[in-house]
Amino acid sequence: MTEHTSNNSDAKHATNKEQDYTPLAKRFLWADSKHSVEKVILGLSILCGLLFLLDFIIHRHTYVPGEGFPGFYAIVGFLAFTLIVLSASQLRKIILRNEQYYSPHAVDAEHYPEAGLERLEHGEKAKAVDRDATKTGGSE
């Protein structure tokens, strides 16, 4: 799928240089830096710690027995997430099959039909951009 479809749109941003990115995208470049990601994770951990401590300061209104236990939501959130992900990985061992498993009666293994994308040949403003993109891709 990647071979013929991705290069369509690659054309416009083929340079892959940071200065070509829009200002909005530049704001997220930290996601590529290991150092910044570490900082964000540290921030998250501090936030979690604070939220946990707040449970001892603020009295939460509760309806369900046990809900008032300090850190109830923190513990449930962490454990539920972990258990869901771990048991899903186990589930995958049982139910994962080859992509062709249901072929040819399922779309899993097929490429999205290029014609069905109706790449903007007729569109309004985006025309110029997309024409460029598709020309180099050459799959139209």
Binding site: H13, A31, Y73, I95, G116, L117, H122, G123
Partner: protein, 562 residues
């Protein structure tokens, strides 16, 4: 005014659509939802457009607050998908969209079961074209599976309504409850469209097979029409609470390991329906408000997520997590919209999911369904895992796929930005949505307890994600198909079919053979009687003949008297 009822407007437009040029068709798709909404709001509460047909009084427009909130959000969804699909020039998809949206609104406004049935089937028939519009053999096969199941749902509804009419003499679509075979059949018919556990596979099978824009449209209507129908007919039916709780939980595991992001969203849709079904099952005013509010918010953020994944599919030709990653660099607007959708579905405070899900959670806690409440809390952490993190993270961040697609086209961006705005607006000003809800209930979502509890749940779940990624325990994105219960009718039954046919065939032949051989021996025995020396060929004496005749006449006499 009768002729301008909202569902009729969509049908006229669908006919008109076949005559217009491509550009005008795109405009029509935007104008009709607006006109439909105006027409809708011009009606007062009560029954309108009552037409006598087939000896029945059919109510095509029944306005009350429950019907209103669903038909308003359906109109908004139709409008937003019209913007998103601005580039589509495929007449079949455009006509199908109009008929489908109109039928869904018609179903919600239907005041009796016959009208409901008509629109129920219309949604099935119209929507399948959004899958077939992909125009591959695989999508044709998928569409057929979808259509068979959808029509089955309609047939059950029809059978149920006939039995119900026979029992009660009424076709009114009011509270039904599980009181007879008829109402049970209707319930299962609704359940299929609402994707109850084990009746759910059509959803995950078909939605990823539809076109880029088709999936956005599909995600809004069918299932929420079913939620509406359940809320109308089966509010307070206890079994729904448990069905709903199971629905919130099991799709999470499948969503977690699914590679096709549009299928992840289909599983996640299923999980969100679970919350609504629990609300219907509890059936108190607070719970039903929760269901309506959640349906309203859900249509918006689920459309938004399908739109953003659709935009990625449109630009890259794939929606598989294993093929994506790092797209934020060139699709930042799509990414931000996707994050807003993810935050909304995960129910972060200030986003729409928070102010609607809380109603259902509170209703379950207040009514003493503690286990169900706990299931919903766990499911909320699960929602964060597949919709909140997996969708945006593996599409736009994670490992860089090297793909540098152009940003989504301007009309898609506009559709996504409006939808994202609505998600935040409702989250910040919940009163606007609460005013639309069926019942007058004072509810404050932004209490310290609520916000703190939700933030703890979500932040610690995020922390768990970081922990699992660090330890390499998070399942990687790999290509493949995950089996679900549809394996039974997609693989097992067709696989068994040849052997069943052979078995039946051979047993038929052996039965034929044994009948033949018995017949042959029987005729041989019988013919033996007539042979020389056989019983029939000996000459009888006069005495015995007279005795026989006498016996016969006696028998005749006896029979005469009986």
């Amino acid at each position: 005014m009768n002729l301008l009822a909202p569902p009729f407007l969509y049908m006229y437009a669908a006919v008109l659509c076949t005559l217009l040029s491509s550009k005008h068709r795109a405009i029509l798709l935007l104008v009709v939802p607006v006109l439909g909404l105006l027409s809708l709001l011009s009606y007062s509460t009560g029954n309108h457009v009552v037409l006598a047909m087939l000896g029945f009084e059919l109510t095509f427009v029944r306005i009350d607050k429950l019907a209103l909130v669903f038909s308003i959000i359906f109109s908004i969804a139709a409008f937003l998908s019209g913007i998103y699909a601005w580039h589509v020039r495929d007449k079949i998809q455009q006509v199908a969209t109009l008929v489908y949206a109109g039928a869904a609104i018609g179903g919600v406004l239907a005041g009796d079961l016959i009208t409901l049935f008509l629109y129920w089937e219309a949604t099935a028939v119209a929507s399948v074209f959004l899958i077939w519009a992909r125009r591959t053999d695989a999508s044709y096969a998928t569409g057929m599976r979808y259509l068979i199941i959808q029509v089955l749902s309609g047939v059950l509804l029809l059978a149920g309504l006939l039995l119900h009419y026979n029992d009660t003499g009424s076709i009114a679509f009011e509270h039904l409850g599980l009181v007879s075979l008829g109402t049970w059949l209707i319930f299962i018919g609704f359940g299929i469209k609402c994707a109850f556990p084990l009746l759910h596979n059509w959803l995950q099978d078909s939605y990823p097979a539809a076109t880029v824009t088709g999936t956005v449209i599909l995600s809004a209507f069918t299932t929420k029409m079913a939620v509406y129908a359940l809320a109308r007919g089966y509010a307070g039916t206890e079994i729904l609470i448990y069905i709903g709780a199971v629905m919130t939980l099991f799709p999470i595991f499948f969503a977690e390991i699914e590679n096709d992001l549009r299928r992840v969203l289909a599983y996640s849709l299923n999980n969100q329906l679970g919350f609504m079904v629990v609300g219907v099952g509890i059936g108190t005013e607070l719970a039903l408000n929760g269901t309506a509010a959640h349906a309203f918010c859900h249509i918006l953020y689920k459309s938004l997520l399908f739109m953003s994944v659709g935009a990625v599919l449109y630009r890259t030709g794939t929606s598989k997590a294993s093929e994506l990653g790092g797209l934020y660099k060139t699709m930042p607007v799509t990414m931000v919209c996707c994050l807003i959708g993810a935050a909304s579905i995960s129910a972060f405070p200030l986003f729409s999911g928070f102010i609607s899900k809380s109603l259902i959670l509170d209703a379950s806690a207040k009514n003493g369904y503690y286990i169900v409440w706990f299931a919903l809390v766990v499911a909320s952490a699960g929602v964060l895992s597949h919709s909140g993190i997996k969708i945006p993270y593996f599409t736009f961040f994670a490992h860089d796929s090297g793909k540098r697609p152009a940003e989504a086209p301007i009309h898609m961006r506009i559709a996504m930005i409006i939808t994202a705005f609505l998600c935040v607006f409702i989250g910040v000003f919940p009163g606007v949505l609460y005013a639309l809800l069926p019942y007058q209930v004072e509810y404050k979502p932004y209490t310290t307890s609520h916000v703190l509890a939700q933030m703890q749940l979500l932040c610690f779940a995020l922390l768990a994600f970081v922990f699992l990624m660090r330890k390499g325990l998070h399942p990687p994105e790999v290509r493949g198909v995950n089996l679900d219960s549809d394996w039974i009718y997609r693989k097992l039954a067709p696989g068994l079919l040849p052997s069943i046919v052979t078995a039946v065939g051979s047993s038929v032949t052996s039965a034929q053979d044994s009948i033949k051989s018995t017949a042959v021996t029987l005729t041989r025995r019988l013919s033996g009687f007539a042979r020389p020396g056989g019983v029939l060929s000996i000459s009888w004496g006069v005495n015995s003949m007279v005795l026989m005749v006498t016996v016969m006449m006696l028998l005749v006499l006896v029979f005469n008297f009986i």
